[in-house]
């Protein structure tokens, strides 16, 4: 059977390609080597491989481009990694890999791939499974395959901590907030900015995670005395548009030892955060001009503020909103209805790793540095504040980095990344992007005029590095902007985006995604600046609403089973139905507010046959989503007329489950329009009948 198997290998390393070709051909497989990402789409379409092998960490943008291109293909992806750390493993799984292999590629990998293909062939082909569930399944299968054991933790020490415990390859326990089991696995693997730690290995050599020696015991947080910490008080930015609440929160936080600055909305907060460094932001979610979500996104998108932790305060105590906050990269989510002490505790808990680090620096003790927990910029500024002298050495799967600091100011920087030695500013920039690097700061004299001399202040160094990184990202976005019309739209993600994004952003997305309007024209029509337009466009790319052109896969083999790297046919069908509904409403009723409501209804109902909706449900839905309930009702009636929903009349008695035909309702009503007695009888009868709307079976629409 293996003779018929086809493997496509995408790589630019000739030695690797030759090794794979030799070994796989030797095992009777057909191998196609692809070096040019521009050729990948066509080659996959022509060769129809059973498996694609590629290096996730290939230099430049080749790998990420390839992954984006392959996102919706039917072909399972196997990543070959130079270093197999927990971060790389999770990133690979999130990119929908079904397996990861570690270099160098050898004979044992051939057998592994054969077994993997056998396993994939046994997977059921007719399940209705979401992308997220498939990622979770891929992880569980991979754990089983490797008999993985240990604990995978995410966001350790934060309120969004999640963990999965694996024993001999089986999932023994998974917890994430109130979720458990596979639900928890799914959510943990979807964390956008999660910090993962895997306390185990895939039976392959990889460095064990260095845990902070100064880690607190579970449940313990530090408390601050305002008088004791005058010089190193954590700087906190409190953001709220309600002045009395802002004053109240600020007072409590200041009395707990924070140096509090206030901002009145997201715009003000971003402005202040860019101008001076803070240790933490505590912000309201609902604010004018720029709400909490937008503020968080803006902060995360700018290297100057990307590592600033944010704690959200919300008027709602909504678990879904808390999950959304976690996914968006917030450190905590609290209800405003709670006690102020909870806000203080959450703020302290969030910055506990930084406080610990600061105290060690204060007494000139060597410090274990985990950049995901404290942030590199924060650590360097802490050195600056304390006037420390010593050497910071960090390491991650990409390379090793070193910065010498004297009296709190940078002296030199060196980096060794993928066998290349880099000095000075370029070395420092590489260190800045090593978000998961870990290592140590050791006090002691440093060589003043050694290699990689920097000759700038700490503020200037960080500022320049951030500018350089922001500029590089802006340039990449610009390139993508230039080819915006060549991008593909992911309808599912687009619909989701339109559901959750603010109205103006949705209008922007529509203009770009549906009407293909040039960016300048969109910015002009929405009265936004080019920077804002670029920012919003970048968000569409980051959320993968827009992607590089997909495969020319028109000639897919019909008998080919579904594999994990594509949207399940049922999902595609559901998406088509949603689109049909939205199009129908657009044609019949026009654009606003009807189309957003139809889209929302289609999403809420999931168009799963048999889902029910009552009038109070639609009133509630309208209130939650900010629509007029009359408009929602109108769209529901419209969908009823079109057949997407069915209006049913059910007897309300608990002991009777009986449907009343619409013709009977009409007949009884006709009788009731005659005289008073008949009308009273009708009222009594109609009080005992429920009206529901139910999603139709596909054949009924």
């Amino acid at each position: 059977m293996t003779g018929a198997r086809r493997i496509l290998v995408f790589e630019q390393d000739e030695a690797f390609l030759r090794a794979v070709e030799r070994l796989m051909s030797g095992a009777g497989m057909r191998v196609l080597l692809v070096r040019d990402p521009a050729q990948l789409t066509a080659q996959v379409a022509a060769f129809q491989p059973d498996l694609i092998l590629l290096d996730r960490a290939a230099p430049g943008t080749a790998a990420s481009e390839a992954i984006a291109l392959l996102r919706d293909t039917r072909v399972p992806l196997v990543f070959v990694l130079a270093n197999l750390g927990e971060r790389e493993l999770i990133r690979a799984l999130q990119a929908h890999a079904v397996e990861v292999l570690q270099r160098p590629f050898g004979g044992e990998h051939v057998q592994q791939l054969v077994q993997l293909m056998d396993e994939l062939a046994r997977r059921p082909t007719s399940e209705n499974i979401t992308w997220e569930d498939q990622v979770a399944r891929n992880f569980v299968d991979l754990a089983h395959r490797h008999k993985l054991k240990g604990t995978l933790m995410v966001n350790r020490g934060t309120p969004f901590e999640g963990r999965m415990v694996l024993k001999d390859g089986a999932l023994a326990r998974a917890e994430y907030g109130p979720l458990t089991g596979t639900d928890a696995v799914r959510e943990i693997l979807q964390m956008e900015d999660g910090q993962y730690e895997l306390d185990a290995s895939l039976n392959l050599p990889h460095p064990k995670i260095a845990h902070s020696a100064t880690e607190l015991e579970p449940g313990r947080t530090l408390t601050l005395g305002a008088g004791d910490t005058a010089d190193v008080r954590p700087r906190l930015l409190a953001v709220d548009d309600e002045p009395h609440l802002l004053a109240l929160i600020s007072r409590f936080l200041a009395s707990a030892g924070f140096d509090v600055t206030t901002a009145v909305d997201g715009v003000d907060a971003v402005d202040k955060a860019r101008k001076s460094p803070f240790d933490l932001i505590v912000a309201d979610l609902s604010m004018p001009r720029m709400d909490g979500w937008e503020m968080l996104k803006t902060l995360k998108a700018d290297h100057r503020t990307s590592e600033l932790p944010v704690v959200f305060l919300s008027a709602h105590d909504d678990y879904r909103e808390a999950l959304r906050a976690a996914r968006a990269g917030a450190h905590d989510y609290l209800s405003k209805t709670g006690h102020s002490q909870q806000v203080v505790s959450a703020a302290l808990k969030t910055i506990t790793p930084r406080l610990e680090t600061m105290f060690h620096l204060l007494v000139n003790e060597p410090v274990e540095v985990r950049t995901p927990a404290v942030g590199l910029q924060w650590f360097l500024r802490a050195l600056q504040r304390l006037g420390s002298t010593g050497t910071l050495s960090l390491e991650d799967s990409w390379g090793r980095y070193q910065v010498a600091v004297s009296g709190g100011q940078p002296v030199s920087a060196q980096a060794a990344v993928q066998q290349r030695k880099v000095l000075g500013m370029p070395a420092f920039v590489r260190m800045m992007v090593a978000g998961a690097a870990q290592g140590r700061f050791v006090f002691g004299p440093v060589q003043e005029n050694g290699p990689g001399a920097l000759g700038v202040s700490m503020d200037e160094l960080i500022g320049r590095a951030c500018e350089s990184l922001n500029a590089a990202e802006a340039k990449a976005t610009e390139q993508k902007l230039a080819s915006a019309t060549e991008l593909d739209l992911d309808p599912e993600l687009y619909e989701l985006f339109c559901r959750i994004a603010p109205a103006r952003k949705v209008a922007f997305a529509r203009a770009v995604c549906e009407r293909k309007m040039p960016m300048a024209e969109v910015a002009g029509s929405l009265n936004i600046g080019p920077e804002q337009a670029e920012d919003w466009f970048r968000e569409l790319l980051r959320r993968e609403v827009l992607m590089p052109p997909a495969m020319g896969m028109g000639a897919r083999r019909p008998d080919r089973p579904w594999t994990p790297n594509e949207l399940h046919p049922e999902i595609v069908k559901r998406t088509d139905r949603k689109r049909a509904i939205v199009d129908h409403v657009r044609t019949q009723l026009g654009e606003d507010p009807w189309v957003p409501i139809a889209s929302e209804l289609a999403t809420v109902l999931g168009l799963t046959p048999g889902k029910e909706l009552t009038f109070p449900d639609l009133v509630k839905l309208a209130a939650e989503r900010g629509f007029k309930w009359q408009d929602v009702h109108l769209v529901v009636e419209r969908l009823t007329a079109s057949g997407a929903l069915q209006r049913r009349f059910m007897l309300a008695r608990a002991d009777v489950l009986s449907e009343v035909p619409a013709t009977e309702v009409a007949l009884r009503l006709a009788g009731a329009l005659g005289d008073d007695q008949a009308r009273q009888e009708w009222e009594r009868w109609a009080d005992g009948v429920r009206v529901i709307w139910r999603t139709s079976m596909p054949s009924e629409t």
Partner: protein
Amino acid sequence: MRTPPQTDRLSEYFAYLRSVSPSALRVWAAPGEAELFAAVEGALWDAVKRIEASAKQHRALQQQPGFPRLLVQMLTSASIFANAGETRDGYTDVGVRHPAEPAYATLGECLVYQGGERHRAACRRLLDRCASGRPARGFCLEFFVDPGMPEQLQALRAELAAEKPFDQVDAPADHPEIDGAFVTAHRLPRGAVVELLHLGCNLS
């Protein structure tokens, strides 16, 4: 401001529909085609009055298919199954069905008033659509964006009275409920007679 039904009960649902369009329940309760025509025309009249009441806001639409959509919105909000077809050459086909008995239906044409010739063309389209069988009565709704609707409707009526186009069997007759509207009857080639309601919506 109407209040939404607080429960899922039929009594509350219908009370709400009645508040949206007094004719809505007549449409629901219509036992036959003749009653449906009368009820739908009542609902059309309710909708036209609502559109006219906020004419200033709607005048901005100024074009097809905005006006037929508006009509569909009004009827749909009262749970009356209305459907607007594609707009071609400024004419939009509209269909209205009984909410409980889909076999009962009526057809209509919507257009922005641009003179008698275009109105007659709309009547021709409507009669063609009725030619294959049901329904026996349709409507032709003109949206008047310029002032002078009553006079123009009168002139239209006079033209139809004089010309009797499309095998019109008699002079136009007043509609019993709708101000300024009139009804004409036309004999189809197969012998059946189809009645057309001619009404206007004043957006000036």
